[in-house]
Symmetry: D2
Subunit: 419 residues, 4 copies
């Protein structure tokens, strides 16, 4: 369905050539200051035409809040948002030979198999315009997360084709990168001078050959409270994977050590716990000014020395930075001729393309990844806040965690339930 | 929450030391023959103690159907299923020094952060015993999918640590591997003589060093009808990613070409369409005998020449084999001493482990991956069947797909909506 | 939340003074002809200003489809719909003494308790304008139900204050009333000359006294297929009750014999089965032309001689007409002075009203009742179609219903499970 | 589906002749003391055989907690619960003539229409045994509500056939009745000497005639916090109506003034606000000792002088007692012969019954009504706690409610948005 989230619930609508695209956000906390100005920046970061290596259209994509706020404050009621489509005329199909061929690796054919109706734009909802509603909704979630907990969500390009951001740079980015820095590396958004430069050349080369290339986006989420994620099916990483693989053109997701972690021995891969006070000499400014800090909501007492876990253990956030990587395939639409079959399977032919196409969708995907990450964390946070508040009204239990110092040598048995 | 699926809805319960573990399956089609004998085989494949490189316990794990069937036929009502726990005594904590330390990279600490109550087994629901309910439910879904469409779901070990099943072997496995063959390669379940042998040695080495190692599972799903997957948030790959990342110890998911596909030019990566009749000279036996074939439900007219897409385009199945890979980290519980901090963060110490532990969880994860894949496909199938039936009762529309042969050279324009 | 339905899912947004109100309909079957002309009639029937006994405003309430259709045909993707608000200026509160008093029996105070933010219109989403989205969505569901099964949904005013439509008239209406006839009795919409006339006078009297009065709406749904309704929590009557009590100003719901049925002995109240062919000599025209008839979907073999059950038994439709009654309280806003307390509880005072108010909301509620009924039946139908199709692909079972004639005297034992 | 609730989610399974019946409760707050002793009392109140005017079976119905607690404390994980069925043998049908006739007004026929499979007990899930899971889950919700807010839920018989509890008695019961008092009036549970005695005789008369009779249950919920209920579709009364109409044999629901309120002028029906401190000189003991009181969660400042609203305004609780009435039809199974048709519609015949049947299900329905009420309030409470906590972390807004005394005569304008 076109709905995401249980507590902070986003429902989107719209395809390429209809009147508008948009969404309804249900479950936004009341009493938050919110205007279009909070939302537009991410809309603008998402839109095409930001440089000569992205698609050259220049859309306006102005978001209009329809409901759910008054005098710039959220009411707690559903927030309707809309962006007009500039080209609202559905193409009359049957007139062009293009309609004979489903585009290879595009959604044209599977949409027809699914719905039995052919939209003028092929796979109507598979258009990247569908992501506008997500970005708008994500901007609201992000604002709440920042105000309440100082959460920061930053995504950046970590590879384009065979050009990768190398590891020492990567590790420090997890702890420090911000969005402004990322945008200093427009149009590719890889926040490393050497890698970024290589990527620009690399993409240009594909553009010149009327070809396309994929890449990966890395996203970090800092200052997430511990305890988020719902066992057992809605583990936090499961929701993130769901969210990311719902973005058009994605092919993979890995969290923390990811696929590479499969090759690291457990004795190295395990993240030892250390006292949180030892590792954070002071709170980051965003956290210190957050509602949680002002309400004396305690910070976790522990953190981990290493972070192979990527901030999540047993499906639940542990307070350390969450980071994950998303794979994007090369864009299916290319300017080269492609031999393929007609819809009815009766004949083969050559499909050629006109016009200019985006040789690499990765840079524009960055605000979409951030938005989906915000939606996941927001939903998990509301679930946990409900539980935590519910528990706080119960009579206190006797102590459940032993706090005595370990006897003798401090060595304890460790019996895993391996069932 | 502990519920998965909208149409075929599975709700699980149970942790390590409670009375039983189990699940309720709601939405199973009525009128299907079903007994415990359909379910037990996967339960048995999942359970520990299958060889000397998995954990040496020998559990019974006998599943008992509580409701929803009569005389061996499903009624359409919820199917309750239960497996008794053999060790039902919660450990009285506070008596052992073990309770002082949350195990590194385990769920002990995050569960306590989330719930504020410490279960005797640490992260109670994070136990692998939680997966029993999934496997039981998955077995029901699988049976339906096989009867109705001849769907086959087969997972196998594709890497252990640095030992990988190499590519030529891999590609043929996607089209042909079956479960019986996989189990010929017990205990590792890598269906390739050379790789399997290397993996056995590799795991043994980790076992001998009281260490652990991760690996990857590849899963293929054949004979999936086209049209499954719900735009835009519940794309089929998004649901698969969600399902897989909800399995304990997983760190990554990739579908089709996956992360490697990011480095392939679009002109190569695109999967050209070909007439399906050209590529399938005959239906596989399971499909030919399926309910769909007997009811003359048409097969897709097209398929793809290559399958970088992994059987899914625009979030919707295209009828080609679906295949994906799941990353499992090294098991967190190891027999080595680990320096870590106490729950209260006040002191550090050394946590040691007693007993024997599973040096590699990958082989036992295989039926769990298959079960979760079955749940995803089943849910998507019921959604699509509802839509398709609903559409079939509407007055027919005038033709929406041009079937005329392309004029001239068969070259058509290809204008992607790049918004 | 602001979402209704699992399969045909409606999400609404909007309050009185925001930019627009509207909804997103997700799950509409693809391939159905649909334009604003299918939706506007019910919008118009809902809107105020239809006579001098309803509120004198004259709104336009033109619905605009935003997405989900192309060339007048549904695509299967979400259908966004919107109606502009004419007065979009939120009232600046604090300037008027009105803001001191929550209106008695209105939502002003409870909305403030819930959200902690006061909307300029008091209980923002409690405004009757919220129902616009419901009516728009319901019109789509209705069209599908009519095309696919010949379903007819007709509501009418069955009482206003103490003036009731009496019983002989009522019973024949269940089987025959249509919407056109109901609208012949504007403005009250009670399709009985005598009762209607009395009601007009009755309401006028309340209007003249600046008071208000309630009433009941009866709704009938004919030609519903058997088998709709999901045990055990989502019985068809439970979903109808949910839907009806979600309409503003409702206080009660009863189905079939309802509260009066509590006083009828079981021996009378039980509805004996009779052969359906005996009771329906021919199919109604709408049914005969429906997609179901054209696809040879069988009609139920049985019907009931009486219909105390109201067309639903065990929570599942039996194919007989469904009928139910909904209670509406007198409108809370009246032109009389009312003594009440200020928001802060510190003082009492007298709240007076300016302007003209609707003395009886019942007539305008009729299209809303119809819309909600359509949403319930549509959702239940899609659930059942999914199940039925799923079952149809399974191998046939041996016969499960004995068809032999009863032996001897045809008397059988009747052992109820009374647990 | 067999799931109720979004935040406190109950999933039930089981029919009459399967191995067991039970449920999974997901979302129970962690850290609450809970054992079978908290649940069994309501199970016992529900079970048959409590007197000679209910069905004479004597079941054990012992509930067993399967998971989700340890050492008598909830873990926050799903709570599995089970009650064994004593008679687990499905009846082999086809052997008895009974199988030829669907019982009139029973679920036998509609279940067959829905599922296409005939359970040995007819409408398998329509059995009253299905309600066991509800009662078990409700007992958990109730315990939380009592501990956290001092919520009291008490249902009683308010009419049997034509014998009604009259109004003066009724009004005082809303404010004071408790469960112990109700059970002093076993077996009918009408807490009024005169009415109760009449009802006993009335039911006995129906029993002697092998007939059955219906009645109504009234339920009151006291000490509900204000602010519960989710606009617009999940208004608190809509959820209560849904819950109540999902109980077998129910035909109607009304809240507060209900159907009678339709005939009361608005000027009388409106509930004026008064200062809460004026009307409650002191907190009830349960409230004073609740977690909410101990955590200084403020009580509403206002209450209403009258309570036609039934404690809910605009779909949201206002803190006043919630009360509603539920209609139960006469039990369909009676000892009299009934002329009806065979399943296949080919012949008519006479269906007779053996054995003893419950002449009036109303008294046993009381714990079921209470349980469903608890589930609704619990779910709404968790939703509101999540929202309220989320809001509490936002920066404070400038004052939104004017608190100045009304100027002059305290008369304010009252302009309703009548759209």
């Amino acid at each position: 369905m076109s709905t995401f989230g249980q507590y902070f619930r986003v429902t989107t609508y719209g395809e390429s050539h209809c009147r508008s695209v948009g969404c309804i956000v249900d479950g936004c906390p009341p009493g938050m200051e919110l205007t279009e100005d909070d939302i537009q920046p991410q809309m603008t970061r998402r839109r095409p035409g930001q440089s000569n290596i992205t698609t050259p259209r220049n859309e306006k994509d102005r978001v209009l809040i329809q409901s759910g706020t008054e005098f710039g404050v959220t009411l707690g009621t559903p927030i309707g948002m809309m962006v007009m489509n500039e080209d609202q005329r559905p193409k009359d199909y049957g007139n062009s030979t293009m309609d004979l061929f489903p585009r290879p690796s595009h959604a044209d054919w599977t949409y027809l198999e699914k719905y039995g109706v052919k939209a003028s734009s092929g796979g109507g909802r598979s258009s990247a315009r569908e992501t506008i509603g997500r970005v708008a909704a994500g901007a609201i979630a992000e604002k709440y997360l920042r105000l309440a907990y100082g959460v920061e969500i930053v995504a950046f390009t970590s590879s384009v084709g065979a050009v990768h951001l190398t590891n020492p740079a990567f590790l420090s980015l997890v702890n420090s990168i911000d969005r402004k820095t990322v945008d200093n590396f427009l149009p590719v958004r890889c926040p490393d001078d050497a890698a970024n430069k290589k990527m620009v050349d690399y993409i240009s080369d594909f553009r010149d050959r009327n070809d396309s290339i994929g890449g990966t986006v890395t996203c970090v989420i800092r200052n997430v409270p511990s305890g988020l994620g719902e066992p057992c099916f809605d583990k936090l990483e499961a929701m993130l994977a769901h969210a990311m693989l719902s973005i058009p053109a994605t092919k993979g997701f890995e969290i923390g050590s990811g696929f590479a972690g499969c090759e690291v021995p457990g004795s190295t891969h395990n993240d030892p716990f250390v006292s949180a006070s030892a590792s954070h000499s002071q709170l980051p400014p965003g956290v210190a000014e957050s509602g949680a800090a002002k309400n004396n909501i305690p910070r976790p007492k522990l953190t981990t020395k290493t972070n192979y876990s990527g901030g999540i253990q047993g499906g639940i956030s542990n307070g350390a930075p969450i980071y994950f990587r998303v794979a994007f395939k090369p864009a299916a639409t290319i300017g080269q001729e492609q031999t393929t079959a007609t819809y009815d399977g009766d004949s083969e032919g050559v499909l050629a393309a006109k016009g200019r196409h985006d040789p690499c969708v990765v840079p524009r995907a960055i605000p979409i990844v951030e938005a989906m990450a915000a939606l996941v964390v927001m939903d998990a946070l509301l679930a946990q806040q409900s539980r935590h508040t519910a528990k706080s009204l119960l009579p206190p239990l006797k102590q459940t965690i032993p706090s005595a110092k370990p006897a003798g040598n401090g060595v304890s048995e460790n019996v895993e339930n391996a069932q």
